[in-house]
Structures are given as C-alpha cells and as structure tokens.
C-alpha cells in the first residue's frame, strides 16, 4: 500500500464524556464567579477554560503528520484470530503519546509512545468466522492526549488488499479421505508399484531419490520417480466425503490437507471443477487450502 499521512484535513476532534462533564464544570465555575462577583473566581474559570482550549491543539498535534507505512498479515483458518500488523511511522522530532489504532470492527490497540523518527509495528487481532477472501478492515487512528477530555481521530484508513481465511479444519479426518491409493481413476494404468522412470533433477528433490548410479556413471543428476510415494500418495477427493453440507465437507478436506502435509505425504486435491496434481510443500498446501477457501458456498453447480 502507499503510505498514508494523517494530514490536517483527515483529522476530527470532539470532547469525550469526561470532556463534556469538564465543560459543564466550567459553566458551574463561571456561574459561581458571576453570582459571587468573585474576581479570582473569574480568573480561575478563564484559565481553566483557556487550558482546555489550548489542549485541543496538543491533541490534534499528537496525531498530525503520523504515517501508516504499510501492513502485513498471514492467512488463518476460520475461527482463528487474524493478526494484522500495521507499521506506524513518526516522521517528526516529537514523541507521540498514547496513540490508539482501531479497526472498524474489533478491539483497538494502544501504542504508549512512538519516539521521534521511530517506527512502530502494531498488531491488530481480528476474529474470523467464515472462510473465503476477507478484505482487510479500515483503520481509525485516534488519541485522547493530553487530558483525556478531547478525542481526536483520523478519517478511516483503508488497508489495501485482502487476506485469505481457510476453512475451519474438522476435528478428525475421515478414513475415506485418508488417502490410500485405491482410487482407480486416479491411478496410472501401470500396476507398477515402484519405479516409474527418471526425470531431470530439480533442487529440492529428496537425496534418496537421486539416481546416484547414473551420477557415478557421469550421466548427470536424475531423480527416480515412483508411482507410489513412500509416505503414500493420496488423492483428497470431494466425492469421498459424502456429507450433505458443503462447509462440513470442506472442513474435512481441510483437515486432510493439513494431516497430509504434516506427514510429508504427496497429495492431490480433487474438487468439482478443480484438480490439483499431487505435490508437497508449503506452496502446494496453500494452493490446496486456497481452493478450499474459495470454493463456492453453494456447492458444485
């Protein structure tokens, strides 16, 4: 995102509840001074009122010029807490005190102090309920410095982009999707349980699979390919989860993806309209979970 600076035109200011009581108190002081025609009473009233007036400038200045440099956040599963990290930057030679960062919905966070020219990462936590692509919340930055009598806040700041919320994983995987290779459709016609052939070595291939003999013969690095991986190649199939509810089906598949990934298995995902070839690794897991997260709510058409 492009950095956002809290300019003067982006800031608002109003009294807080204690601020309103404070204003009422000033009125009481003034009335008493008038009634008793007390010179020092007038003086006290006007000093207190003037301090309140001047403090408005301090409240405003505490926010003015502050920058939101950027943000980052990682995908989570539905029901987990989403952590959005926002970077605040104080470009001025003046400490900012008690800056509150608040998403539109959810709990705000208070930064006690941002030193001059310093940056500060704020972690906002947001609850998630549903899978899918969730837009990042708009932020409001506010302060009640110095007396807590005035509240100044920024126009809401949109955070660019969105975050993916994976489906909520089911508590237990189903045996039917625990990936045995008996699914005939998914298997190559060869019965070969073992060696399937050689292909050029790619970085990241397991050393056990390197065809070392060929290397020794000076034929270059090759990797042996097998139809059935050691940890078992699995197909995680939509049709293997005969549940009526789409979300529950996705939850079971999500659990299966996580289990397979943890066990280091090669797995593929087959959803109506989507096929992800078996593979391993974090990126592959993300692809699978993304497909589950973005699966239409209405189910297969």
């Amino acid at each position: 995102m492009t950095p956002v600076t809290l300019g003067t035109h982006r800031l608002y200011i109003l009294p807080t509840r204690p601020g309103l009581i404070f204003a009422a108190m000033i009125a009481v002081l003034l009335l008493a001074s008038v009634n008793y025609s007390n010179g020092l009473g007038y003086g006290l009233t006007f000093i207190v009122a003037s301090v309140a007036l001047v403090s408005m400038l301090y409240t405003h200045r505490n926010l003015a010029g502050l920058e939101v440099l950027g943000h980052e956040c990682a995908p989570v599963h539905a029901g987990e807490v989403l952590a959005v990290r926002v970077c605040l930057h104080n470009p001025a030679g003046l400490a900012r005190i008690a800056i509150q960062v608040e998403p539109r919905a959810g709990a705000g966070v208070t930064v006690a102090r941002i030193a001059p020219y310093d940056q500060h990462w704020v972690t906002l936590t947001l609850p998630t309920a549903h899978r899918g692509r969730v837009p990042l919340p708009a932020l409001v930055i506010s302060t009640r410095f110095p007396f807590g009598l005035l509240h100044s806040w920024s126009r809401s700041i949109a955070l660019d982009g969105s975050v993916l919320v994976y489906p909520r994983p089911a508590p237990q995987a189903w045996d039917s999707v625990r990936g045995h290779g008996d699914d005939k459709d998914a298997q190559t016609p060869d019965d070969g349980d073992d060696f399937a052939g050689l292909r050029r070595h790619r970085t990241g291939d397991a050393p056990q699979r390197v065809h070392w003999k060929a290397v020794a013969r000076g034929q270059g690095m090759h990797t042996k390919e097998f139809q059935e991986p050691r940890a078992g190649q699995r197909w995680l199939d939509w049709d293997a989860v005969p549940l009526p509810d789409v979300e529950e089906r996705l939850s079971v598949l999500c659990r299966a993806v996580l289990d397979a990934d943890r066990e280091g298995a090669r797995y593929g995902l087959r959803l109506p309209g989507t096929l992800i070839e078996p593979d391993t690794g974090a990126r592959h897991r993300h692809r699978c979970l993304e497909a589950l997260a973005l699966f239409p709510t209405t189910g297969p058409a």
């Binding site: 807080t16 007390n38 006290l44 000093i47 403090s55 003015a64 208070t110 006690a112 310093d118 007396f147």
Partner: protein
C-alpha cells in the same frame, strides 16, 4: 489512551492525593477541625487499604458514611445551605469519592471537584498569596489529569513540563477573557446568608461598658486618595453613622430618614477625595466630615451620611466632596426634639454635674466646661476598661473613670443632653496611616472612633471629641501610636512634646517593617483594584479609555474572539513546526537529491537511493564514487540500527558540504 473505565494504578492515586492535599490545605484553616480529620481518615483508608490489597468499601458502608457526613455538617452549622456548609459538604464528598476511587473516570471526577473547591476557597479569601498558591495547585491538577488519563509512559518532569507549558500558553487567553468578558452587577440567585460572613465593620449600636477589651483588627476598612493636600490628622474624622437614641445603656440609630438632596450653603474650602471601601456587608459608607450630597447611585441620609443602595459586598470606589468648615443650620427642630431625649433614670449625681455645666452659658461654653472636666479630673484612656453595670454613665463618670472613645462619647453626650445642649454620638474612623509611596491614606478597623456633635445656634452641629481631651495623642498620632504609647506605660495627655517624640520614635527595624508593610499594602491595593474589583464599572471605564465603549457589544465580542483565534493560530503554527519532518538525516539526503536535480539528474518518484545512485553513476561516472559514498552513509544512518550515531551524522554533513556537482559543458 487509557479508557476511562480502566483501573487507576497506585502511582496515579499518589498523584491524586498530592493534588487533593494541595487544594484542601488552605480550606482547612476555615473548615471545622473534625472535617479535616474525617477526610484525612477517608484518604488513608482507601490508599493504605489499597496497599494491603483490600477492596473498596461496599456500597452500604459508603452510603452510611455519606449520610453521616451530611448529618455532621448539619449538626455543626445548623443548616446544609450556604457558603461554609457548602464548602464543608464539598470537602466531605471529595473524601468519600476518593474512598470509592477505582477507575480513571473516578480520578477525573475528583480533579473536577478540586477545581470547584479551588473556587470555593476564593470565596473565603482572595489574597494575593492564595492566588499564587492556587496557580500552582491548578497546574498540579492538570498534571494529575495528564498522568491519570495517559498510560505511565511520561516521566514526572515530562508531565510537569507539559502541564506548565499548557497553563503558561493559556495565560494570554485567560487575561483577554478576564478583561473583556462582560460583567454582570448583582447576584444571579439569592446568596446564602453567610455568603459574606467574616466581613467586619462598625456595629450600628454602641454599648460602652459591655466589653472589657476592645478587639483590635488590623484589617483595612478603606483607603482614601485626596485630590490635593491631605488634611492634618486632627481633621481626619470620617463619619459613618449618627446615633440619636439613648436608653441609659446603649446608643442606637433610631429613625434616620433620607436627607434633603439640597446642599447646605457652602462655606470654607472643599476637599475632594476618593474612597475605596472594603466589603462590609453593610450599607453605610465613610466620608470625611462633612460631605456634600453624593451623586447617584449613592444615597444621602439626615446627619450628612453617605449610604450605598445595596450592602457593600465587593470593594466599592466613590468620590465625595467635603467641607471641613461647614455650618449647616438646618435641622434645628430635630436637634431640639431628638437631640435632647434622655431616659428617665439618669442619676441625681449626673444631673447635678450637668446643672453645674449649664451655668457656663451657651452651648459652646457648656461643652468647653465639660471637656475641661474630663481633662482636669483623673480620667484615663484604656483599651481594657472595667465592665459597667446598670447605669454606665454614672458609674463611668464617678467611679471607674477609665475607658476608650465609646465611654467618653457616651458620657459626654448624656451630660450635654442633661445640661440642655442637643447632642448626638457619631461613629466613624479617625486618623489613618499615610502611604507615601502610594499617595493614599489607609484606614483600618482599629482606627474606628466615636465622638459627639453638639448643636450650636450659630454653627449648627459642631464636633466635640471628649477622647481628644483625655488622650490628645489618639487624635493627633492615631490609634496605632496611642497603643504604642500605652504599651510603654506613658501617661496620656500629660506628655511634653519632647517626651512624646522620644516615645514615638521607632527603631530601625520597626521603621523598616513599617515601610515594608506599606509597600505590601500598595501591592495589595493594586491587586484588588485591578483583579478583585474588576467589576462592571471598572470594565466600563477601561472600555472608555480604550475607546471601545462606543462600539456595539457584538463587535467587541467578535474582535475578542478574533484575537483569541489569532493567539490559538500562533500556537498552532508553533506546534506544527515541531511536528514538521525535521529528521536531520532525511534533510541532508534531500539536499543531496536537490543538488543532483540541479544538474539535470532528479530522483524519480519511488526510486530507491541505491537505484538512484547507480543511475547517477551511469550518467556521470565522474560523480559516481562520491555519490555512492554519500548514499552509503545515508543508508547506514537511515536504515542502520537506531539510534543514529552523532558522529556518523556529522560525517555525512561534512561530506555533503564539500560536494558541489557541476553540469558538464
């Protein structure tokens, strides 16, 4: 921000305690002692109880305590309304609020209560000292507000600087509002009975012999500025009221109708003087003998008396014109009737004495004869006279023979009436202390005096002061000198001028102290004139002097609002300068980019420093090395571990100073 419902920490509680002690301390001087003890106990209960992890006392306990405090205040004052009970209740509530102190919001409410209490203490005293003290406690209150409503990231000195700066910046605005905020005359609602309690002044009755010690108050009664020369001490009689009616024990005013507004035929010189009278909660106003009818709104009563239309509750300034040699021959009939009235029970001894005086001839001669009697017989002036019984005049004249002005005035007036000379008692002030530096006269409550006026056929009412016959020093040197003489045991009225001077001569220390006292009085006079008594009339006078009185009020208000906004604008500019980016590293790098832009190599939007310097190096290989070095330093400073090293910054500055890229031809 600390949300208002968050709990207040121990440190915050300590700050609050400090502010409470500061604000309540001056009030404990006038509040009942038990209240101070109760509040201290409540504060200790909550604070020390909190230290032992004890919870806030329950609602029931607090309710009982609240009722107890209200009942105790009622028992003490007999009411819960009025100034003093009100202040007592406020102090009590403050203690109770602290007892249930839990959240930040409670703390803020307590601070607000403290502001109200500060104003309440100004109702008790408006001295310069208290004002200075409360300016400090006000700053402390704001510091407490900062401390409790912000998380504990600010150090003590930072909070103090912030609060002090805010109060300092508020001052010009406050002064502006003070001067221009329209003042209203009179109270908005009925003031409690005791609103002006503690104001002292002369009572409107005189009972010589009922007290055996004259209380001496050094409080200022009024100050006088004369146009022209100040009259001598023996002429400085300021009349306040006339007592006509005598019942044998007490002199009272009786009916005193409003007098004729028509001035008496003037004779002799006129003395214009301006009097600033302290609040007395009474209507009477002093004026030098004998004043001419005053201008509105002051009123005028028979006996040459000035009066305010309302009780004097704030310092009042007025100008009077007096004629020391006035002969007002009107009012003879009043003199014949009221001026001769005597109760039936006058003792034969007194009547005999009066009859003897009567032989002297006319009124003036009779008075002279009586005054001579006081001077020749063994009469003594004292401030601690014996108490007198049922017939004070008789007892004083023939037995005790000691007393102060009231005794002499009473006995003399009674003698005159018994001798057939119309007489009346006048209460007022005599003498006063001259403040040379300020050019004015200070008259204190201790200068209060009583004298007599007798009716003469050719001069009207004439002053006759029996006290002057017994103790001429009282009239000539003033009440203060008299007291000093008596303290040294001098016998009054029998001192040679030589001895008098010796007795009255003050040591260096006394003189210095006296001068200091006068200087301080000058400061206080100015303080009260410009701060305490800045009321409607003074405001109007100031507006006149500024030439603003002719302008419509709304225009003036708009002007003041504009000035307030302008001051705020100046502050805003100052504050904004502080937040404008002043990162020295960034500034230096911006200068670097500006110099390259000048030779045709501006930094592109969003171009990183490294990419930029590479591009510059490609375009101008001759600049590459130095530009790269500067960029490296900049990157180190900007993205290296904080905080930036001062030496590195200096190096960057130096490198940049020498570096002036030129365009190639």
């Amino acid at each position: 921000m600390t949300p208002a419902h968050q709990l207040l920490d121990r440190d915050g509680q300590r700050w609050l305690l400090a502010a409470i002690v500061a604000v309540v301390a001056p009030l404990t001087l006038s509040a009942p002692v038990w209240l101070t003890a109760v509040v201290l106990a409540l504060l200790a209960w909550r604070y020390l109880g909190g230290a032992r992890g004890r919870a806030v006392p329950g609602r029931g306990v607090r309710l009982v305590l609240t009722v107890a405090v209200v009942v105790a205040v009622y028992r003490h004052f007999g009411t819960v309304f009025g100034r003093d009970p009100g202040i007592a209740l406020l102090i009590g509530m403050l203690g109770l609020k602290f007892l249930e102190l839990r959240t930040v919001r409670d703390g803020i409410l307590i601070v607000l209560l403290l502001f109200v209490l500060m104003l309440a203490s100004f109702l008790v005293s408006q001295s310069l000292g208290l004002a200075a003290f409360h300016l400090a406690s006000l700053t402390l209150c704001f510091a407490v507000l900062i401390r409790i409503s912000q998380p504990a990231v600010l150090g003590v000195s930072e909070v103090a600087r912030l609060a002090g700066g805010l109060v300092l910046k508020a001052m010009p605005l406050a002064v502006l509002l003070f001067v221009f905020f329209p003042r209203i005359q009179g109270a908005l609602w009925g003031l409690p009975q005791d609103a002006f309690g503690g104001l002292s002044g002369i009572d409107d009755a005189m009972r010589p012999g009922s007290v055996n010690e004259l209380s001496v108050s050094e409080e200022v009664a009024f100050r006088v500025e004369f146009d022209g020369a100040m009259p001598p001490a023996t002429e400085r009689y300021f009349r306040v009221m006339v007592l006509w009616d005598f019942d044998g024990v007490a002199w009272t005013r009786g009916a005193t109708p409003f007098g004729p507004a028509r001035p008496a035929p003037v004779s002799g010189r006129a003395l214009r003087h301006t009097i600033t009278v302290e609040p007395s909660n009474r209507r009477w106003l002093p004026a030098l003998d004998w004043p001419a009818p005053p201008g509105a709104p002051l009123r005028w009563r028979v006996g040459h008396l000035l009066e305010s239309p309302q009780p004097v509750r704030e310092r009042l300034r007025y100008t009077a014109v007096s004629h020391p040699q006035l002969r007002d021959l009107r009012g003879e009939d009043t003199a014949e009737t009221r001026g001769l009235q005597l109760p039936g029970g006058v003792s034969p001894r007194v009547r005999a004495l009066a009859a003897e005086f009567h032989k002297a001839g006319d009124a003036r001669a009779i008075a002279m004869r009586a005054l001579a009697h006081f001077r020749q017989q063994e009469f003594f002036y004292t401030l601690q006279p014996p108490l007198l019984g049922q017939d004070p005049v008789d007892e004083f004249l023939f037995e005790s023979r000691r007393g102060f002005c009231e005794h002499y005035a009473s006995a003399f007036a009674a003698l005159m009436r018994a001798a057939g000379v119309p007489a009346r008692v006048v209460l007022g002030y005599q003498g006063g202390e001259i403040n040379q530096a300020g050019g004015y006269l200070i008259v204190r409550q201790s200068d209060a005096h009583a004298w007599v006026e007798i009716w003469t056929a050719d001069g009207g009412w004439q002053r006759a002061d029996p006290t002057a016959a017994v103790a001429p020093e009282r009239v000539e040197f003033g009440a203060d000198a008299l007291r000093r003489l008596m303290a040294r045991g001098a016998s009054l009225g029998r001192l040679s001028p030589e001895l008098l001077r010796q007795f009255l001569e003050q040591g260096w220390l006394e003189r210095t102290r006296g001068q200091g006292r006068l200087a301080w009085d000058g400061v206080q006079h100015a303080w009260s004139r410009w701060v305490l008594d800045y009321h409607r009339d003074r405001q109007r006078a100031l507006m006149e002097r500024l030439g603003l009185d002719a302008r419509p009020g709304t225009l003036v208000a708009l002007g003041v609002a504009a000035v307030v906004l302008a001051i705020l604008g100046v502050y805003a500019l100052g504050l904004r300068r502080a937040i404008r980016s002043r990162d020295p590293v960034k500034k230096l790098y911006r200068r670097f980019c500006a110099r390259l832009a000048r030779i045709g190599l501006p930094r592109a939007r969003g171009e990183g420093p490294l990419a930029y310097v590479l591009r510059v190096g490609g375009a101008r290989p001759d600049l590459a090395a130095l530009a790269a070095a500067i960029t490296a330093r900049y990157i180190d400073l900007r993205y290296g571990p904080a905080p930036a090293d001062a030496a590195a910054l200096q190096a960057l500055r130096r490198a940049l100073r020498r570096w002036r890229p030129r365009r190639v031809a």
